[in-house]
Each structure stands twice: as C-alpha cells, then as structure tokens.
Amino acid sequence: MSVVLPRIAPFGDRALVVTLGDRIDDATFQRVQGALARLGGASGEITDVVAGFASITVHYEPLRVAMVGAELPHVALARTVASLLDGVDAVSAAPGRLVEIPVCYEGELAPDLEEVARHTGMSSRDVVRLHSAAEYVVHMIGFVPGFPYLGGLDARLATPRRAEPRTRVPAGSVGIGGAQTGVYPIASPGGWQLIGRTPLRLFDARRESPSLLHVGDRVRFRVVTRREFDALVAR
C-alpha cells in the first residue's frame, strides 16, 4: 500500500477517522486493536471511539480541545491522535476474552438452515458443525445496538443474503450474510440467512455495559438442543 498508515483525516467538524488498512485481514485487525488500546476509553475532548473493519472513527467535542494560538480544534486533535498512535504498528494487541454463545440450530429457530445447506452443497448437519467449530473475532459493533460483525466464518459457509429481507428478525437470531456471520441483538429488519438462535441477550440497556460483545472479543458458538435452549430462556 502506498499510503502511509495510520492515516488521520477529518470526518466532519466533530470527528476524525484513522485509516489502518484497506481490507479485512488479521494484520489490519491487529492494527485496529492496537490503535483502540492506545486511544483508550472516551475521555476529555474525545467523546467516543468507534472501530470499523479497517478504521477508527474518533468523535470529539471541539470546545474541549486545548488549542495552541489561533489553530482550530481539528488541527490540535489530529496532532494529539497522531502522537497517541505513534509506533502503533509495532504493538501486538493482547488476545480478547473468549465468549461462548449457546445456539440452538433446530427447527423454527433455524428457518434458513436448509437454504444454506442447499447453497453450500453440504448437509444441514455439516453446516452446523462448521459454524460451531470455528473461533470468531468481533471486528465491529454496528447496524443496531450490540450487533457484532464477526470475522472467521468458514469460507465454505458463505451464502448470499435473502433476496427479500425479513421485516422482523427475532432477537438472538444467528445468521449468515455473504461471507459474514453475526447475531441479531434486538428484533429488527434483516436480510441474513437465519441458521439458529441464542437465548443470550446480546444487548441489554440495563447492564452497565449493554453490549455482551465488544470489539476484539473472541466468540465460539456452542450447539444446544431445543430443550436446553428453552431452559436457558426460562432462566
């Protein structure tokens, strides 16, 4: 790549974007993790730090930026962010925590499992086996509160989105959309192929940290029966 990374550019008058790569791969993911760690939690003039697949958006309050002379907040903040990220390429992010998500891949909880099997030329059983065997990483949270964009889907499971998105996908639905897999945290419209459902609440505004998953977490799906699913729901 010819562009020097990280590249810091303005993103409107209250944010800037740090570009750390141009593709979804492990090296880029590591750089994003390292940069997130450097930027830390929101504090002072920085009001939020949001990871993308290959970038980080830094939201800030211009009034709180300490400026030298007549310079404007975006200039001063870009300098602060550049110094925070100095040498970030050399750091290696610590592995994230491992979160196990129970998933029932049966019957009405998996309305598109047969479609995924048909598309991939595998048995439903093999689809479930491959999906639950992999370890995924959370690249991004977005779309709706707590929705994880997971990297690590076995390429053989890639299946196009549904031609007609559903107007309402139940909370907890586990889906495949193209080369990605994820879990719908709240009931919402959605076009992914639904192959199972978890009884866990991926988003709960009453929790101090409402999203179950955070960028950098590792995720495993554990197969549970319908009986176990119902027992977990009842709990």
Partner: protein, 313 residues
C-alpha cells in the same frame, strides 16, 4: 408535578442531548434532532441545556399541567396556544395549575421543543433520557407519547417566566445547508460535485429520525470502490447504490459502508432537522476551518446567553 397528555400528536418523544459514549457498543446517540433549539428552550425556563424535554413532530401534542410551572417552546412554530391564548416560540411563560397547552400543525418547520421548568423526570438509560425507538430505550418506556400518559416534571425553585430569546439568537430555518465536502466527493469527479453542490434536492417522505433521505438529481460519476464499514456521525451524507443521498440524523446507525460525500456543518444540522417531506434543500460547500469557526462562535453565543440568564452551565 404531573403533566397529562391529552393528545399525543404525530410523534412526540422525550429527548435530551443524547446518549454519549456508547456508539462503540452500537448504541446511537439519539437526542433532540434540533439540539440547538432544545438547548435554547431549556435555557429559557432555567433548565440545564441537557434537561429532558419533549420533541414534537409535524403535529404537536396537547398537555394539561396539574401544577403551576414555566414552559418555553423552541424550534418550529406549531401555532401553539396556552388556555386558548397564542403562545409564540422562544419565550418562557408562566403556566397556572390546570392550564392546557395545545400545539397544532407545524407552520414553518418540522419539530418543536417543549421545555418545562425542572425538566421531565424519567430514568436515565445509559446516561441519557433520550427516546431511541428502534431499541425501545430511554424516554417513557422507550416509546413515543400516547394519549393518557402522565409525565412528571420536577417543581422549579423560582419562576423564570417572561424571558424571551433575543431575535438575533433565534435560529433561521431554511433549506440552505452548508456541507464540508469529503475526499470521496472529489474522487467521484466534477459532475458529481456540481450536482451535489449546485442542484436542488427535496426531502423524501420516508425521512425519519435516522436519516433525511433526498430525492431529485441522482449522483453518478466515477465508479465507487467497495468500502469497508466504519463509524458515521450525525450530518454524514451517504451515497447509497441508488444514487439518492441520505443525511444521517440523530438516530443514525453508528457505522455505515456507503460512500461518504461530506458532512453537514454542525451549525446547520438544526436546519436539516426542521425540513419537512417535500421541502427543498440546497448544499453549498464550506471549509472545515470555517465550519469549526462557526461552531465555536455559536457556542460562545450560547455561553453568553447562559450568563445573561445567569444560570450555571
């Protein structure tokens, strides 16, 4: 003090200045669409600028106050009346026990703010009282107001009535919106830039708190490379595959993958919030430097107003 909702209006929600610091968890900031108007209305009744207030949309609510208080309207003029007497925006007025405040249809914008002294008391969710409808959080049980709801407002210490906002500080609502162009817009070529910054668009009826969708000329231009999703902000102007731009607003998704044409200057976000379906909108370019200068200038004006009204920040 109780406030009874006699009529809910088209879409009336409890809002404040948003849920900050949770976008990393995919939680939109939400908050008042026209945050500037909300802040000014709150200042007029002696509230903190971040106090919870009501946001009415196109057709306003009717409210009955069980006790005496002070209210101020901000934002668009909804032809409001207080016990039958006309009540203009940008003035704090004393409300006596049993009085009825009625808002009609929006006359010159889309959204009105009803600030009640002491602020509306609902539990804060993730640090904010803003209603975010898609996840049903904040405000009154995460939903819009309904007829028969009873809101609680705290009782103010002293009356702030008879304050009005100097005319020079009142926002002007029109469709002339300044935009900081992105590098992507430059990459799309001169024709795309000339279309976005030269032609008139109109606000589509399917616009909402998530985004202001535009109809009119389509933006083509050079092929847009496939983009990886990344964080977005209120005011980000996206170009979906159909070629009709969207201005992301208060409830926008925290991340997006569409090409970004630019960003509406923060000082003009209130104008976008006040556009109604069918209204014209025209973008002119502004440099980032100038957009931030205007932002700082406006914040200084609000700080001066805060001091003039002698309330702590």
């Amino acid at each position: 003090m109780n406030v009874e909702v006699l009529r809910a209006g088209a879409l009336t929600t409890i809002q404040d200045l948003g849920r900050l610091g949770h976008q990393r968890e995919g939680v939109p900031e939400a908050g008042a669409m026209d945050a500037h108007a909300a802040r000014l209305a709150n200042l007029l009744v002696g509230n903190l600028e971040s106090a919870a207030l009501l946001e009415a949309t196109l057709l306003g609510p009717a409210l009955r106050f069980a006790g005496a208080t002070t209210v101020a309207l901000g934002g668009a003029d909804f032809g409001a009346t207080l016990d039958g007497e006309a009540l203009a925006p940008w003035r704090a007025v004393a409300v006596s026990a049993g009085a009825t405040l009625e808002l009609g249809a929006a006359r010159d914008g889309c959204r009105a703010y009803i600030a009640i002294a002491g602020g509306i008391e609902v539990p804060a969710v993730l640090g904010s009282r803003s209603t975010y409808l898609p996840a049903a959080i904040g405000g009154l049980d995460g939903r819009a107001l309904r007829r028969g709801d009873v809101l609680q407002a705290s009782v103010p210490g002293e009356s702030r009535a008879r304050r009005s906002l100097p005319v020079a500080q009142r926002p002007v609502y029109d469709g002339n919106v300044r935009l900081v162009p992105s590098e992507m817009l430059a990459a799309l070529g001169d024709a795309a830039r000339a279309t976005l910054l030269g032609e008139e668009f109109r606000v589509s009826p399917d616009s909402d708190r998530m985004g202001c969708r535009l109809t009119g000329p389509r933006l083509g231009g050079a092929a847009v490379p496939e983009l990886l999703s990344s964080g977005a902000t209120m005011g980000t102007v996206q170009l979906p595959p159909g070629g009709a731009p969207i201005v992301l607003m208060a409830d926008h998704q925290t991340t997006g993958g569409y090409p970004v044409l630019g960003h509406v200057a923060t000082v003009d976000l209130g104008k976008v919030a006040q556009l109604r379906p069918g209204d014209p909108i025209r973008f002119t370019g502004i440099s980032l430097d100038d957009a931030q200068r205007l932002y700082l200038e406006r914040e200084r004006a609000i700080a001066a107003l805060r001091r003039a009204l002698s309330f702590p920040p």
